[in-house]
Amino acid sequence: METEYSKEEEMEKLLEDLKKSNVRKEDWEFHDNLQPVYSTGAGLNRKIVEEISEIKKEPEWMRRFRLKALEIFQSKPVPTWGPDLSGIDWENTKYYTRPDEVTTNNWDEVPDQIKDTFQKLGVPEMEQKYLAGSVAQYDSEGVYHNLRKVWEDKGVLFMDLDLALKTYPDLVKDYFCKAVPPTDNKFAALNGAVWSGGSFLYVPKGVKIDMPLQTYFRMNGEQTGQFEHTIVVADEGSSVHYIEGCTAPRYEKNSLHSAIVEIYVNKNAHARYTSVQNWSKSVYNMPTKRAWVEENGQMEWVGGSLGSKVTMLYPSSYLRGPHASAHNLNVSLAGPGTIKDTGAKALHLAPYTSSRIVAKSISIEDGKAIYRGLLRMNKGAVHSKSHVQCDALLINDESQSFTFPHDEIYEPTATFGHEATVGRIGTDELTYLRSRGLSEDEASSMIVLGFLDDVMKEIPMEFAVEMNRLIKLEMNKLGAVG
């Protein structure tokens, strides 16, 4: 009983902190007047792709790979089965923007303006406090990377992918676009053609890293695209937690973020991938994230989709070996005028595999939150299990939530279940809490934190606080709720 109280006392304290905190959107929507040292300019063609490869002094196979991906990109239509993507200005997007010449492992060498930006966002602070290592990317290129020596000594590799390609070309080639080939979808093909930056993280056999590693992505330029490519390899019996955070200033014209994340969880390994996306409302966020999970491997996806204009994201787990498991936990916030088309895919390709998907969404004003999921259980995936839970919270009468689960079950011994709930922070609910003395802020915070309660222990506390702040911010902009 005592422990239960202390947890609530902690929550009480958190609520009080929230009341004091007063973060404004300008805190991350600022933009620097930094002139990039190089940009390919607007538009995309063969010449630009070759130029990117040239600047990066890449091996021949990568150059050819990029050009092949470009062909695939150009041959694929823009998908129309989901949200409206007509706002993406393909012609005027700058596909490659380089902020500076160098990437460094010393903060002091990072150009002042970029350093200031990351400092304002609290990045170096986090590194000191609780990270095993970090990479910072500004527009198209990584500008900083660092890994604690203890992990370096154990053979862990953590750097931006461009550097990894130069230093460990064979290792990168073994994994690059194996899980997400350019033929997968138009945005994956685009990433294959113009990818730049992203992280490469390799954890050798049996190494268990007990602190998370983080990459922070910052998009500064207007109408630029960020196309990072991240590869995480957890070799046999290893364990790793990798975190990504993303922000961008807000512009009138739309920007495009189309990343690829590939995670390879080998036999008996455990990987957790946490991403907190807080793009501004001028960003189309179209990443493709996929994990290959081998025998007895465990993959955990933890995602927070807070910002962006449109997000389409369905982290996928290919459960390739017996007893492989995947756990998806996604929390989406669809603010006014934005669409979150998010979900998860679990493909059970081997016996005794299991997946658990928990998707929570909050829609504010005319924000639209959509759960779109795929569950496939192949013939032969005997005794595999899956459970999908979708919870939606609607803040206003016009808020919308949709659920589109798609199941393909070919194995009779497999079991699966779906669960869905819809809650509301309506005028009546708020008035009820307020009529007992709670302020409007406190009432809505209680509802939001209550909604997230069962996922609170899975997501970083800072993230929960941030999420709550954002919701309050969105609600405050509407004036009095109700």
Binding site: E12, E429, T431, Y432, R434, R436, I447, G450, D453
Partner: protein, 277 residues
């Protein structure tokens, strides 16, 4: 202006005498006092309350009765400041403080409490945490620890007949009608308001539960609390026995009386009361 009729009964003189006595004594006693002064209100553009006058003081139990659609629940919602209800005229004064334009939380902190007719479920908000947060707002002076507060809460839960397991459930989520009403009473016991408005507290309760709720109300009753019991039926008034009964019809109080008035309504309905609108 409309007329208000006094309902004649055998006890009438006694009651009026006490009423007058209270008025004389109020300044010395510092009893809580809610004055509803010529209150008009509308919802979705439709005028529901058309000038309600009513005063509830500490130690008094008032019953507000009336046919369906008279505006009884509207009055409750307007008193607590539900944003869907718009006040078009008049005022709500509690202990000299004008609450008319105030938010629901300001009214609650001033000591006004409404037990809702149909309390809504608030999914995800834990009952115990909600009560604690509310209590801290209403009684900031009480610095007692969380564990002390919960111990006190458990005692009251036992009294209203709610199992301890309700503490970790979401507010009203999956509660039966009766459980919701018991929880409303529990909130009253814990938050200790000065003026209590009970909106159809008897609906959805079986005989035993009704008895239990009436017991709790009587236990909470003191010279420091004034009650306004909004009800359609007389049955709860048998247990609680209000001193004053008011009839609301078409947005106005058209008749005042004592508990014998409620008995007559139980027998004859509302048709005999002259519609003054």
């Amino acid at each position: 202006m409309h007329e208000r009729y006094i309902y004649f009964s055998q006890f009438r003189h006694k009651k009026v005498f006490k009423y007058n006595l209270l008025i004389c004594n109020k300044k010395v006693q510092h009893l809580p006092e809610l004055i509803i002064n010529n209150l008009s209100a509308s919802v979705e553009g439709k005028q529901i309350l058309k000038g309600v006058n009513l005063t509830v003081r500490g130690g008094e139990i008032h019953a507000l009765m009336g046919p369906n659609g008279a505006g009884k629940s509207t009055l409750g919602n307007v008193l607590i400041g539900h944003p869907n209800y718009v006040i078009n005229g008049g005022s709500i004064i509690l202990d000299g403080k004008d609450l008319t334009g105030k938010t629901p939380e300001e009214r609650a902190r001033a000591g006004l409490f409404l037990a809702f007719q149909s309390p809504v479920a608030v999914v995800g908000v834990k009952l115990s945490a909600f009560m604690r947060a509310a209590y801290k707002q209403v009684h900031p002076e009480d610095k007692s620890k969380l564990s002390e507060f919960y111990d006190r809460m458990k005692i009251h839960m036992k009294k209203v007949g709610l199992d301890e397991s309700f503490m970790s459930r979401s507010v009203n989520d999956g509660f039966s009608g009766g459980e919701r009403k018991r929880f409303e009473i529990l909130q009253m016991m814990i938050l200790r308001p000065k003026i209590v408005v009970l909106d159809e507290i008897d609906s959805g309760l079986d005989v035993d539960a009704l008895k239990l709720v009436a017991e709790e109300i009587k236990e909470y009753y003191s010279q420091e609390v004034g009650f306004l019991i909004i009800t359609h039926y007389q049955r709860i008034l048998k247990d609680i026995e209000p001193e004053f009964v008011h009839i609301l019809k078409d947005g106005k109080i058209v008749m005042d009386g004592d508990n014998s008035l409620s008995l007559r309504i139980e027998e004859e309905g509302y048709d005999w009361i002259k519609n003054t609108a």
